[in-house]
C-alpha cells in the first residue's frame, strides 16, 4: 500500500498575511516587554546563601524602604536580552556606513585578550609590584601611539574622545598659564565644520570660541586663520582629515601661523584612521591630538561606549600631561599618581584610564603591525573613493569630484525637486538592510550625507551597497516618493515620534495606576 501520510514537501501557492498577529511577534521578530512588566520582586537569577545570623553594624542608616527592583530567573534573563539584541543593527550583521564614526570590524581576539584574568581581574590600587605586566602593556601601547604620530608623550587616562579633547585643551591652558599668558590668551579658533564636541570642550575650559569660516573647497584656509590670529588666541582646534572627508591641504601653513602667533595646535584625531602609517601628525606641526581607540583601533563601540581617548602631546605640552603616568626605572615600572613635584595639569579621572580598551587596542595593533596598519588606512581610503567614483554621476559632491579620504560627503542638491529629503533617503536604506549614513553633518553642507564604508568591506559587499544606493537614487530621481515617505517599512519599528518624547518626557518606567472599575466603586 502507498503511504500518503505526512506533510506536503513543496509550497503550493503564495499565501497572504496582513502582518497582524495575536502575540505581536512577527515570525522571528519578537516583541519584548519591559523587565518591570515581567519581573517579580521576589524572583532572582542568582543563587546566594543567606549569611549566618550576625549583628549588623550599619548604624542608623539601614534601608527599610523597598527598592522596587524586579528580578528575573536566568532563562528569562537570557531570552529578554537576546530578543532585545535582535532589534539592533550591528557591524557583524551588515555594512554600517556611518561617516565619522568608523564602524569597522571588531576582532574577537581582542575581546578574549581583554578577558584574560591578568588584565580583567586586577585592581587599579593593588600594589604596583603585582601589576608590572599591566604597566608594561600601557607602556607598550603608549610607545606605538607615539611612534605612529611622531609625538613626544601620550596621556593615557582620558575615557573617550571628548574627554581626550578636554585633556588636550587643558594641557594647552596649563602651558599658557605657565607662560603667564592665562589672562590674555582666551580665544580658541574652531572651524564651522568641526564636531560639536570641539566648541563644547573649549567652552568647558573657559575659552571663548571664535568660528573659522570654511573655504569653498571644504578646506580651512591659512588666510582665514591669519585674519583671526592675535595675541588673544590660545590656539586652534582643527580636525584632520576634516569632517568633509578631506585632508587639510594647508595644515602645515596653518600650524606655522598658530605657532608664530604664540598659540597651540589641537588636532581632533577622530579621523586618524585614514592616515595611520601614511603621515604622522607630529610632522604636520600638531601639539596635541586625541586618538579614539574605539574608532581607529577598533575597540568596539558597544552601542555607545565605553570609548577611550589617549592624547598624544608635543614636547611643548608633554610636561603638562595629567596624572597618572607610567615611569620606567630600569626594570621596574612605576605609576606617578600624585601631581606634587610635577607640572601635571591635574587628574581627569579616578585610577588610570580604560585598561580594558588598551588591551583590545594593543591586540589590534600587534595583529596589524606597521604594514597592516598602513594597508588598513589605504583600504579605508580606497573603499570610500570607490563609493565616490561609482555614485558621482547620480549624487552631488559639494566640493567636486576630487579624491576623498576614508569617507565621502554628498549633499542634497541632487534631490532638489524630487520630493525626497536626505532623511527619507537615509531611512529607505534601512528597508534595504543598511544602516543609514551620517546625515545633516557636517553643518557646512546642505542636507549632508557622509558615507564611511571602512576597510572591513569586501569588494562584493561594496558593489551590492553601491547598486542599492544607485537603485534608491534613481527611484528618488524618478519621483517614486512612496518608497521614501515614512520609510522604513520593514524595520522592527516605524518612525518614532520624537516630538512627543521631548514635549512630555517619559524617562523611566512607573507603576501604572490601578484600573478602577467605576461602576464597582459606586
Amino acid at each position: 500500500m502507498l503511504n500518503n501520510q505526512g506533510r506536503p514537501t513543496a509550497p503550493k501557492k503564495l499565501g497572504a498575511h496582513e502582518g497582524k498577529t495575536f502575540s505581536g511577534h512577527r515570525g522571528l521578530l519578537m516583541e519584548e516587554a519591559l523587565i518591570f512588566e515581567t519581573g517579580r520582586i521576589d524572583a532572582t537569577g542568582v543563587d546566594l546563601d543567606e549569611p549566618a545570623a550576625f549583628t549588623p553594624r550599619l548604624g542608623t542608616l539601614a534601608r527599610e524602604e523597598e527598592i522596587g527592583l524586579p528580578g528575573l530567573s536566568e532563562p528569562e534573563t537570557m531570552r529578554h536580552y537576546v530578543r532585545l539584541s535582535q532589534k539592533n543593527y550591528a557591524i557583524d550583521s551588515g555594512l554600517y556606513p556611518l561617516g565619522s564614526c568608523t564602524m569597522k570590524h571588531n576582532p574577537r581576539l581582542n575581546e578574549s585578550m581583554a578577558r584574560l584574568p591578568g588584565f580583567a581581574d586586577i585592581h587599579p590600587l593593588q600594589p604596583q609590584s603585582t601589576v608590572q605586566g599591566a604597566l608594561a602593556l600601557i607602556e607598550e601601547l603608549a610607545g606605538w601611539l607615539m611612534a605612529l604620530t611622531n609625538m613626544e608623550a601620550v596621556a593615557m587616562s582620558p575615557k573617550a574622545g571628548a574627554h581626550g579633547e578636554y585633556c588636550g585643551m587643558a594641557a594647552i591652558k596649563a602651558a599658557i598659564e605657565a607662560k603667564g599668558e592665562g589672562a590674555t590668551r582666551r580665544v580658541v579658533l574652531v572651524p564651522e565644520s568641526a564636531h560639536g564636541t570641539n566648541p563644547a570642550t573649549a567652552a568647558a575650559i573657559g575659552f571663548e570660541v571664535r568660528s573659522v569660516p570654511a573655504g569653498e573647497d571644504g578646506n580651512v584656509h591659512p588666510q582665514a586663520v591669519r585674519a583671526l590670529m592675535g595675541p588673544d588666541v590660545a590656539g586652534i582646534m582643527l580636525t584632520n582629515p576634516n569632517t568633509c572627508g578631506l585632508f587639510e591641504r594647508q595644515i602645515v601653513e596653518i600650524a606655522q601661523i598658530i605657532h608664530e602667533g604664540g598659540g597651540y595646535f589641537y588636532c581632533d584625531g577622530a579621523n586618524f584612521n585614514a592616515i595611520v602609517g601614511k603621515v604622522r601628525p607630529g610632522d604636520l606641526g600638531i601639539d596635541a591630538m586625541h586618538i579614539n581607540l574605539h574608532k581607529t583601533f577598533s575597540t568596539p563601540h558597544g552601542g555607545g561606549g565605553p570609548g577611550s581617548g589617549p592624547v598624544v602631546l608635543s614636547s611643548r605640552l608633554a610636561p603638562f600631561a595629567p596624572v597618572p603616568f607610567v615611569r620606567r626605572n630600569g626594570d621596574h615600572l612605576a605609576l606617578v599618581e600624585d601631581k606634587v613635584g610635577t607640572q601635571a595639569l591635574g587628574r581627569l579621572t579616578a585610577f588610570h584610564g580604560q585598561m580594558g580598551m588598551f588591551v583590545r587596542a594593543l591586540s589590534y595593533i600587534l595583529s596589524h603591525g606597521a604594514d597592516g596598519l598602513k594597508q588598513a588606512s589605504e583600504d579605508a581610503v580606497l573603499n570610500a573613493n570607490y563609493v565616490r567614483a561609482r555614485l558621482a554621476d547620480l549624487m552631488s559632491l559639494p566640493f567636486g569630484n576630487r579624491p576623498c579620504m576614508h569617507e565621502v560627503l554628498f549633499d542634497d542638491t541632487w534631490l532638489k525637486d524630487t520630493g525626497v529629503t536626505t532623511l527619507d533617503f537615509a531611512k529607505a536604506m534601512i528597508d534595504e538592510g543598511y544602516h543609514p549614513m551620517t546625515m545633516y553633518f557636517p553643518l557646512v553642507v546642505h542636507g549632508a550625507m557622509l558615507i564611511e564604508p571602512t576597510e572591513s568591506e569586501s569588494l562584493a559587499s561594496l558593489e551590492l551597497f553601491i547598486m542599492t544606493l544607485r537603485d534608491l537614487a534613481m527611484s528618488a530621481l524618478r519621483g517614486e516618493t512612496a518608497r521614501f515617505e515614512g520609510a522604513p517599512f520593514l524595520a522592527p519599528r516605524k518612525r518614532l515620534d520624537e516630538t512627543r518624547a521631548a514635549r512630555a518626557p517619559v524617562l523611566r518606567w512607573t507603576k501604572p495606576e490601578p484600573i478602577v472599575d467605576a461602576q464597582a466603586a459606586e
Binding site: 548604624g59 565605553p306 577611550s308 591635574g346 595583529s367 606597521a370 597592516g372 572591513s456 516605524k494
Partner: protein, 446 residues
Amino acid sequence: MRYLPLTDLDRSDMLARIGVGHIDDLFADVPSPLLLKQPLDLPRRKGEIDVARALGRLASRNVAASSAPFFVGAGAYKHHVPATVDHLVQRSEFLTSYTPYQPEISQGTLQYLFEFQTQVALLTGMDVANASMYDGSTGTAEAVLMAHRVTRRNKAVLSGGLHPHYAEVVRTQSHLAGDDVVTLDADVSASEDILSQIDATTSCVVVQTPDFFGNPRDLCAIAEKCHANGALLIAVFTEVVSLGALKSPGAMGADIVVGEGQSIGNALNFGGPYVGLFATRTKYVRQMPGRLCGETLDAEGRRGFVLTLSTREQHIRRDKATSNICTNSGLCALAFTIHLSLLGEAGLKRLARINHANAVKLADMLAGVKGVEVLNTSFFNEFTIRVAGQAAQIVEKLATKNILGGVPVSRLLPGKGCDDLIVLANTEVNTDEDRAALVAALKEVL
C-alpha cells in the same frame, strides 16, 4: 591580513575604476615630503597565536584578584558576575552597534537604556537617571558643573570623606573653569563639621556615603542646610551594592546622586572601563548632562524608545552645551542592567547582607590582632584600620605573601598624616580561609 577583505587584484581593479594609477594618488592632498612611502620601522603583522602569546606573557606578570586572598576596594570592588552577563554583553548586536541614533533599528539598545535608567532611579531613590557617564569620578565632576548651572553659583564644598581621586578630578575641572572649591581635611571618623561651610554663596556640597573610609553618612541635616541656603546636595557612592543595605540618598534629601556602578556586572579591569550612575530630581532634568532615553510611540502607535532632550548636548548646542560628553558607557551599563535584572530586589538585598556580614566577621577578627585598630563604628563592606607601622610597607609585605591586603591611604593622600591607615574591603567572594590568611599574615608582618 586576516581583517582586510580586499585582495591585491581587487585593489588594482578599484584604482582603475576610480581612474587613478596608484593608491598614493588618493593621498595627493598630503604634503608630499611628509607622505610616508614605506611602513614605519615597527613590528610587522602577527597571527593570533603570536598576539595571544605576547599579551598572555604580559597578563601572567600580574596577580589576578581571584588568585589570592583579596581585600582591595577604595572605589573598585571584586564581585562575582554571573556567566550569563558576559555572554549577553558579547552578543554581536550589542557589542558592534553604534549609539542608537536610528531608533527604528536600535530598539534593543534603547530599551535596555530605558530599563537601566529606571533601575538607577529606583536604587538611588531619585526621579530620573541618565543613560550613564564614563565613571563615578567624572560623573561627580559633571554633577558639580550641573549644580553650578542650576544655582548660578560656582562654589563647591567637598567632604573630607570623598574619594581622593574624585576630589582631585573636581579640583582639576574647577581650576580650568575658574570655579571655587573648598576641600575639607581627610575625615577618617566622619566627624567633620560640614554644616558650617554652607552659606548663601555655596553652589553644592559633595558628600560620599559610605565614605572613602567606609563610614555610612547621614545626609539629612546636610540636605536641610543646603536647601535653606539655596544649595544642592550631591551624594556620591563608590560601592553601588551598598544601596541594597543602606537608606537611599534620595530618601535623605539629595538633589543629585552620582556614583560608580562597576560593582554590578563589571570586572575590575585595572580601573576601567567602568560605568558612572547619575540621577536627579525631575525639575533639574534639563540641566542634567549625558544621554537620555525616553519612551514614545511609533507611526503605528506601538511603544518604542528614542534618545531625547538632546538639545542639551554638544552636537546641537556646541559651545552652549551642558557638557562636552558625547559618549556614555553603553556596554558597561548593559552589563550592569543584566546583572541587576538577575539579582532583582531579593538578590541584591541578600548580596548586600552577605557583603556586610563578611565585613563584620573580618572586623571582629582584626579587632583581636595586636597592633591593629578598627576605626569605624559603622560600615558596609569596607572599613579603615590603623596599624602599628607604615601602611604602605605592610601592604607590600602582605603582597609578597600573596595576600592583597587592602589599600594604604597614603597612596591616595600622600603627606596628609594618613601613613598608618589601610582601607579594607570584603565582598561575597571572600571566604573564611581568606580572612584567616589575612589575619595570620598581618600578625607576622606587624
